[in-house]
């Protein structure tokens, strides 16, 4: 593995690791806020107890989110110094504002977690509001930096260096809005499904009567609101990508040859040698329709880009399908759960429903991870689209393979630790099983 590949692998693994905790760091505060709000509003204390029980695992997850985020911000310099020397003036603003959001988040999280004995119930609830807002805002900010990498703006290239920098323009780049909205909502969907899955499993095992059902309804209610928006914003994202990131669109759809009335290809394995997709399902004209809202529009294919300047569809197309497919897996779970409730005012989810919910639970995070793979692999070989190649951005230092191996070990150790901590059950003195959820 050469230095560049080691750096890319390390960056990718670090981000894929961080995003799991970041996602929960965005979604759980919302759930906490809703639960505490319901407790105050209905006077039903089980909501409050439910929220207080979430914070134990949440505390650990947040801590891992913070430290893995720290790894990332160092990695920007350790792995991609040239990228940061180039981009710092443009994307630094987004990161700086994110810094304040982190402060706000850390402060109110601490107040909420540790404040039980020192603060009133009302104040505890009020603390969850800045917590929820700050975490959503931190996503919106960091995604602006990523959007800028995809659609750079706010500077001119003069003699090979950026000049006339306009930080606000860089912040509000073309990809920012759709990515920020779609990406932040994704965190709510993914968290909601993770929580729902946890309680579905618990109910299946005969635990968590009462408040388990409450938690299930709450999380699936959040998902019910957010999931349809994923479809809407996803469509918006695809249209925006079609307009501003044509190479990414071509890779996403495994669309090799520029053509009019382009078909949509679902599934299949793209072959770059022959420029074909084996085993895919073709739906005539649909790509043109979705991308440009016209069934006969011309869609640029990968052949429109010079050799070595476009992404590898094998890394992009399958992940795109996985994201969209996951949406439908989750949508079915929502229908199964809410439809009977709405039709017959039935309130008991049956075992089959619970089983399906448990099955669908991981697809939130799967969709989210794969969406990021689409965005990131779809930008290659550029780190700053059209301006700076990943290979130009990498550090001149040797030994990145060792660093990669070290951090891989760090992540594995943390993952194993968390799994054991959160999933292991202990037996209390009477020999009963006690969960720590």
């Amino acid at each position: 593995m050469d230095n560049l590949l080691a750096a890319r692998a390390l960056m990718g693994v670090s981000l894929a690791f961080h995003i799991v905790y970041a996602t929960l760091g965005i979604g759980l505060p919302l759930m906490l806020m809703l639960a505490e709000g319901l407790a105050l509003k209905t006077g039903d204390d089980t909501w409050h107890l439910l929220a207080r029980r979430w914070i134990r695992p949440a505390g650990v997850l947040f801590a891992i989110g913070a430290v893995s985020g720290t790894i990332l911000s160092f990695e920007l310099g350790l792995l991609w110094p040239q990228f940061m020397a180039f981009s710092g003036p443009m994307i630094g603003l987004a990161f700086s504002m994110e810094g304040f959001a982190f402060f706000t988040e850390a402060i109110f999280l601490a107040l909420y977690i540790y404040g039980e004995e020192r603060l009133s119930r009302r104040t505890l609830f009020l603390c969850t509001i800045p917590l929820t807002l700050a975490s959503a805002v931190s996503a919106v900010f960091v995604i602006s930096a990523n959007g800028w990498m995809n659609t750079p703006a706010g500077f001119q290239m003069i003699d090979g260096a950026p000049a006339n920098v306009q930080p606000m323009r860089a912040f509000f780049n073309q990809a920012w809005l759709h990515q920020a909205v779609h990406g932040t909502l994704a965190a709510y969907v993914a968290t909601a499904f993770a929580v729902a899955g946890f309680y579905a499993m618990a109910l299946l095992k005969g635990r968590g009567e009462g408040d388990g059902k409450k938690a299930l309804s709450l999380s699936l209610a959040v998902a019910l609101v957010a999931a349809p928006l994923m479809l809407v914003t996803g469509d918006w994202a695809a249209a925006a990508v079609a307009e501003h990131q044509t190479a990414k669109l071509a890779a996403m759809e495994a669309h090799f040859k520029t053509s009019a009335a382009a078909p949509l290809i679902i599934g299949g394995w793209p072959d770059r040698e022959t420029g074909t997709v084996s085993y895919g399902i073709k739906i005539p004209k649909l790509l043109s329709l979705l991308a440009h809202h016209d069934p006969d529009a011309v869609v640029q294919g990968l052949d429109a880009f010079p050799q070595g300047a476009s992404p590898d569809p094998r890394l992009v197309h399958p992940f795109f399908d996985l994201m969209v497919g996951s949406f439908f897996v989750m949508a079915l779970a929502l229908v199964l759960y809410w439809w009977p409730r709405w039709r017959k005012r039935e309130t008991e989810p049956g075992r089959a429903q619970l089983k399906y919910i448990a099955f669908a639970a991981p697809f939130g995070i799967i969709a989210l991870e794969s969406g990021w793979m689409v965005t990131e692999f779809g930008r290659q070989p550029w780190v700053v689209m059209g301006y700076l190649r990943t290979s130009q951005a990498v550090t001149p230092n040797d030994g990145l393979l060792l660093v990669f191996a070290t951090f891989l070990f760090v992540y594995l150790a943390l993952t194993v630790g968390i799994m054991r901590l959160l999933l292991e059950r202990k037996h209390d003195d009477a020999g009963r099983e006690v969960s720590h959820g």
């Binding site: 310099g77 603003l93 304040f100 977690i113 001149p396």
Partner: protein, 346 residues
């Protein structure tokens, strides 16, 4: 004075100072967890553990703030530093990670009534490793061994083994070990208070010795830096730091803990400020000036413009946080199972 490069550099120094004051005390808590002594060792550990709980994540954000300020306001300096300082920074990162995780695991374990194996040891080792390597990294920027030729940054591996950088690491450790017990003296009652007083005095001596030793070392290994430090106005900081340090020791002896806390803070502020003053107007001594490292004016102005807004949110929140958790540290959550047996439910 009001030029944006200088202002951004000042922000950087302030952030470094705040990280040292808050994050440093946090690491110090870990160091004294490892060094807990005497018949009340267990109580000392408990008190430190509970004091760190609510504030460690916030204290840690100052580090992020430093990194972000560096790459926003001094992007080429950031690039050069992160190329040059890779070895200690990688080690520091590993430390930061394991430390945060070990602390969280342990906290979680406490609340569910279990000891999480290894978490205490990992926390202690990481609390030593991180300030040591960060101290090395900071002192290396002053050592004059980082070179930039035609845009190519280089440092020999040798720099990590010079007494100057190693002593920089030791000073990093000493600062942390000094701050934590001083802060603890105002938060606990005797006899624990006396333990922390003894710890603070010992660490104060260690810090004094380490910085004193650093003087001849820097004359020998970092002549460019020591010249600026000792032969012009930054010298003032050194003198004041010595006074503050000695004064604080006396205050500790006299048990004037509230004032001693301020004195200790002042000592550390003056030490870090002196270092920064001697480094200025460079970011990397002799090789890269702040001016050369700085971002274009528009970026600096935008960065500086958001700071007041950020401060408007941050300062009241921080005050509220430290105010809420002032006084005797306690573990806020009732032990597991005390919520009317609710832990049996999910």
């Amino acid at each position: 004075m009001a030029d944006p490069v200088t202002l951004a550099a000042l922000v950087l120094v302030v952030a470094l100072i705040l990280y040292t004051l808050f994050g440093g005390a946090d690491f110090g808590g870990g160091i004294w967890t490892a060094l807990a002594f005497g018949p009340r060792a267990r109580e000392q550990r408990e008190a430190l553990f509970n004091a760190i709980g609510p504030v460690w994540e916030t204290n840690h954000v100052w580090l992020i703030f430093i990194v972000v300020t560096l790459f926003t306001a001094f992007p080429s300096g950031f690039a050069a530093l992160f190329i040059a300082l890779m070895p200690p920074l990688v080690l520091a990162l590993i430390g930061i990670n394991f430390r945060g995780a070990a602390f969280a695991f342990r906290h979680y374990g406490r609340e569910t009534g279990r000891e999480v194996p290894l978490s205490a040891t990992v926390f202690e080792i990481a609390s030593v490793l991180t300030p040591f390597t960060l101290g090395m990294a900071v002192s290396a920027t002053a050592s004059g061994t980082i070179t930039i030729n035609y845009g190519v940054t280089a440092t020999g591996t040798a720099v990590w083994f010079t007494p100057f950088t190693i002593m920089g690491g030791v000073i990093g450790l000493a600062i942390c070990a000094y701050l934590a017990p001083v802060y603890m003296t105002v938060r606990v009652a005797p006899p624990l208070q006396d333990d922390f007083r003894d710890a603070a005095i010992a660490a104060g001596v260690a810090l004094g010795v380490a910085t004193a030793v650093m003087v001849p070392l820097s004359l020998r290994y970092a002549p460019g830096f020591s010249q600026r430090l000792l032969e012009s106005w930054p010298m003032l900081f050194v003198v004041l730091a010595v006074f503050a340090g000695v004064g604080t020791q006396l205050l500790l002896l006299w048990r004037r803990f509230k004032v001693a806390q301020l004195g200790a803070g002042a000592t550390v502020v003056l030490t870090v400020a002196g270092f920064a003053a001697a480094l200025a107007p460079d970011l990397i001594v002799g090789e890269m000036s702040l001016e050369a490292a700085a971002a274009p004016r528009a970026s600096l102005v935008a960065y500086l413009a958001i700071l007041p807004f950020g401060a408007l949110i941050l300062i009241p929140s921080l005050v509220y946080l430290y105010w809420t958790f002032r006084g005797e540290p306690s573990s806020a959550l009732p032990p597991a199972g005390s919520e009317n047996g609710s832990s049996e439910k999910m």
